[in-house]
Assembly symmetry: C2
Homo-oligomer: 455 residues x 2
């Protein structure tokens, strides 16, 4: 029953709606009518030109099959354009709802935002030229162009807000699915798929051993091939994931198998070749599963500190919190002095022990709410939440002293560290904070090492 | 050495660069000069108006502190504007690089794209009005406006492409961090934080028991509070996550503790009140960890099929594959006939057994590369990859027969299902495919149930 009475909230315009209202209110009815007439007369031609041009845009073309444009999009765009520039003032709520819905659909089918903007730019140009031809008074012309540009651009703004919001949700869900699946049954999955690959290999070999081989099953259409294309590509996105396996698979289907069938009976060397190619796929699969495991863990295996992968996530969040909640936030950049010579003189085992030892000292000097990253070979970045410059400097000094005071026994060698300290200064880009900490670290090195320096 | 010779690839323009080139080539030097002059004379005023207006935009305001605008942004925007509209034709590579860099920084600090578009629209309007005032020839005016609109909009397109690309990477990393952390030490984390909360509670009680209590530690500043604000908020994003706990925490810090200190010695009822509030936080924490575990698993606990959370991810990917690789793709929508009456007559335990039994039949009729979702209460959606309509219909019939042939024993009751079959028809939006399957399912129901119907 409550739905029948408009709630107070629905009577208050959002910033978006208020902006639309301003644009609509600003235009005199006579100018709106003139624009509506121009649009009505030329909508079909403009839309024709729109799709002809946009089909040549590499970002847009994949979404614009002839059939889709002819059966749906062409008419839909004409309707959109004529209702945006109607003779009567358009209904505000319908206007906003339409643009939001378009943004949502674009996000769902992943139409690139710049392709939509490109199309809008074309249409605006067309309409502008028509207005220049048809409206003689310079004053009216200026107003008509303002109106057209504002309406079109405002539509883009409303669509884009919805597009980005929805895209964000979709990307999160994609990534969640990938990781949930990776986390749940990844070892089982690996074994099942290795078995499926072998199963296909056996069936091919059996078929070949028959005097008159039946049509051989393709690897791409086998249980393994289908898994690879549909589930594997979800688990291992990116160019370095499945591509080498897919290439090997296509080679088997399109080169090796046809060659086997051409010679009857097949030569042993051809059968060895097939087996070697299957082995290669198994090797590539193992490798893929293994490297993905390391990458996904997000931690540096040697020191158990976070690896750099999650640095942007964490620092940008902390900078935002510092800005919004007005709490301090500081960063230490720590470098192990003369680490290269330790490695060169005493060997990698000793170097590894030093890295682990320094990481332990850092952990013991920090709180559970801080974040410790292995930033580079012998560099650590420490994010100290709700800590100001003075306190950060004290923590840096504590770490520096703990390391230099440690007996030679604990590291196997005498070790010192240099530390740069920087604190959030209002700049919204977290890379600025890292640069500051880096500068401070260089000063500490310049001052002779085994020093903490605050910028 | 190769870097010194421009490679062939660098001589080929990208679609973006080619578009910039076209815009720059189209403008006559005299018109470009006229525009450059207008921009140069009025850049400062336009930029002033730009920031004054944009500061009132709710999406933009949080990024525009007075200090940031005065010390950095104001001058940077004037430089950007004057170099975009320079007297000489601008350097193409520098132009594209600059817009990309801006898009990247905007993504990093998460400036909403529509706020940038809003700002660009303001600037374009300003420049247009100036051109109308300053260029008397209508022909030149039309060209000048084309030039300004195209340059500004093209800058937005280049920025937006980079913005979305970078945002996508950042969102993926955020989500990965959240899930990796959730997956790794979530149980340990829960116990550590419960202990940290109790520890704070003990310290407060001890302090209160002293005759003259020292300043009590705030819960928000305690190890627990810091964890909650900095790590907890990463693990449990969204409005229903940490908010109730944060509210309870603020109540303790700002109401309960001050009241305790006002009465010395505190009344027992006040101490009980504090303990009850700490207990409430523990309860909320447990709840949060538990529900998040269920949600993240992505599976329906009863039938072990996928839950709806990952439906958009999977269907949009499969529709894209069907489009790009030109392979078929089909969807079954399955509903258990008269399920409500089974539940009402034989009880929920029987209903659950039916759901599990039907899910098992579906799994056994599908391949490892297919996706099976619990779509609703008694509805399942099955995504059959690289399967055309005829084959999909055969699979539907197999499932339908397996269910109706099952002895009453296996389900505890006689069960049938109705199935709608739909196949990918070129429409890029996956919701269209679901709608088709739904329509077919309704037909199957209309035809008396225990039927498969292909649309």
């Amino acid at each position: 029953m409550t739905a029948a009475v408009p709630s107070e909230a629905s009577l208050v315009l959002s910033a978006d709606e208020a902006e639309w209202q301003r644009i609509i209110d600003a235009i005199e009815p006579s100018v709106r009518e003139a624009v509506a007439l121009v649009v009505k007369d030329h909508a079909a031609d403009s839309v024709e030109l729109f799709y002809t041009t946009l089909r040549q845009h590499p970002d847009a073309a994949p979404f614009l099959s002839n059939e889709l444009v002819d059966t749906r999009l062409h008419a839909a765009l004409i309707t959109w354009l004529t209702s945006l520039f109607s003779v009567a003032a358009p209904d505000l709520i319908a206007l906003v709802t339409t643009q939001k819905r378009i943004g949502l659909v674009h996000a769902r089918i992943r139409v690139p935002i710049q392709a939509v903007m490109h199309g809008a730019r074309l249409l605006k140009g067309e309409l502008r030229h028509l207005l220049f031809d048809r409206i003689p008074s310079k004053e009216d012309l200026s107003k008509a162009i303002d109106y057209v540009e504002n309406m079109m651009d405002m539509a883009s703004e409303t669509m884009s807000r919805e597009f980005v919001r929805d895209l964000q949700k979709e990307i999160e869900t994609d990534e969640a699915y990938r990781l949930v699946t990776l986390g749940q049954d990844i070892n089982l999955e690996r074994e099942i798929q290795k078995a499926a690959l072998l199963d296909w290999g056996h069936r091919v070999l059996f078929a070949i051993c028959c005097a008159a081989p039946p049509p051989l099953p393709s690897l791409e259409g086998s249980a393994f091939g289908l898994w690879l294309n549909h589930k594997g590509s979800l688990l291992f996105p990116g160019p370095f994931g499945l591509e080498p396996i897919k290439i090997a698979m296509r080679k088997i289907d399109h080169v090796t198998i046809p060659a086997l069938l051409a010679d009857a009976p097949p030569k042993p060397v051809q059968i060895y070749e097939l087996q070697a190619q299957i082995e290669e796929i198994r090797f590539l699969m193992d490798n893929l599963f293994r490297t993905s495991e390391a990458r996904e863990s997000g931690r540096d295996p040697l020191t158990c500190t976070l690896n750099r992968r999650f640095l942007p996530t964490i620092l940008s969040r902390e900078v935002t919190q510092a800005m919004r909640r007005e709490v301090p936030f500081s960063v230490l950049m720590l470098d192990i002095d003369h680490f290269k010579s330790v490695n060169d003189t005493f060997g990698h085992t000793c170097g590894d022990r030093v890295l682990r030892g320094v990481a332990e000292k850092i952990v013991s000097a920090c709180r559970a709410s801080d974040f410790i990253f292995r930033y580079g070979g012998e560099e650590f970045l420490i994010a100290l939440v709700e800590i100001d410059m003075d306190e950060a400097f004290r923590i840096a000094e504590r770490i520096r002293e703990m390391v230099s005071d440690a007996s030679t026994d604990s590291f196997g060698v005498k070790v010192t560290v240099s530390i740069g300290v920087a604190t959030f200064d209002g700049h919204p880009d977290y890379t600025h904070l890292i640069e500051d900490a880096d500068k401070a670290l260089y000063k500490a090195k310049d001052l002779g090492r085994n020093k903490s320096v605050a910028l």
